[in-house]
Amino acid sequence: MLAWWLVSLFVGGALLMGWVATVLVFAAVSFIALREYATLVPTRREDRPVVLFVYAAIPISYGAIALDLYGYFLVIVPIYIFVGTASLMALIGRTDGFLATAGVLTWGMLICVFNIGHAAFLIRTPAAEAGPAGPAGLVFFLIAMTILADAAEAAGTRFFGRTPLSARLGPGRTVEGLAVSIAATGTAFTALSAFYTPLTLAPAAFIGFLLPVWAVMGSLVMAAVKRELGVATSSDLLPGYGGALDRIASLSFTAPWVFHMLAIFALDHF
């Protein structure tokens, strides 16, 4: 419990301290999550320099966020780090397991750096475009609604859960839980968005009622990943709450969703 409050304190404090602190905290989160991922996935002995190169996605992406270069941010990870990773692997020259390793590394940097980076990039919204609570309010609202979506889904599953979303991944996430989360999170998002975002009612409802689908899919996908890797939690970073990868699973799916919808409906900056 203490560890969880410490994380809230860190993220909340960073949001209050401004965009520099926020970008640094998110960069640290990306690093910790990517390191957990790199530790658990299969890599080849020769790939150590490649893994180091993948870590370079973090300073470069967050550098683009700090410099407010959205166009650069969009192409760094999915194109240039991706191409660089594959090139470096080809130069090293081991071919067995080439595609598997290239895929595994690319997947990790998309989830841990590119997707999570969208949450951090919201802090660079110009104050005039952001809602009444400023850019920090946007980031806070995204995180709070994602946590609510997870919590409502867990509570719904606990009290009404019958039909697993995926029979193979077990009874942890259910259709009933998702329905409860859609109702609760959608209502809360629509009701509160006027305080945190510049959205009007209809777009807010659209984003809010679909957000739990992304959140639940994010954690379901991470559950599948952990099942393949043979672990229950990604690490013991927050005892009782798992590791960084466990905690960012939902956010890695909700962040791009909320970011792009805000960009379409309200923000001219992106």
Binding site: I32, A38, T39, P42, T43, R45, R48, V51, L52
Partner: protein, 213 residues
Amino acid sequence: MLLLLRQIILWTLVRPFALLVLGFETRGRVHLPRTGPAIVAANHNSHLDTLLLISLFPAAALSRLRPVAAADTFTATPLVSWFSRRIIGVLPVDRGRPERGADPLAGCREALARKEILIIFPEGTRGDPEELGRFKSGIARLAEAEPDAPIVPVYLQGAGRVLPRGSMLLVPFNCFAVIGAPIRFAGKRPEFMARLKDAIEALRADAPPLRWL
């Protein structure tokens, strides 16, 4: 004065590095000896192993902590030698064939008599990354000579990927230590060695899976 410097290094460099860069996680920390004489026996894959083990101990124990290391590596130049002995607290041991009548483990015996905590890597070398090599028998002779000293088995994972032998490139991966219940010398040396190796192998089951193809 030097101890204060060592404690400052522990707090500002060793522990932050272990926790922030290497995401160091520990299981079974209660088994760690607080007072000497004691021997901490761990598998060895990287120079970082010593750093990780030292980071686990309270600052107050620093003056009693003696990592046993190869004299040929750690006393190679005067500067390295000074840093190893004075700052890390290394107890150098000659790896070569000893002269007649000389006891290469005399320094270790004396340290145990002074109630110090030895850190020993029974493989005697870092070997192939993330693989457990053959144990050398020195630790069994020490344990036999000093039956009061508990031997604490530790399984270390990850440092061999972060900084393996022969590499200068540091790549962050999470590191783990699983610390087991102390064992004591009993029976004959080969039996004890097998028991120690089994204990460290068994601790591996508590560490997260490692897939290095």
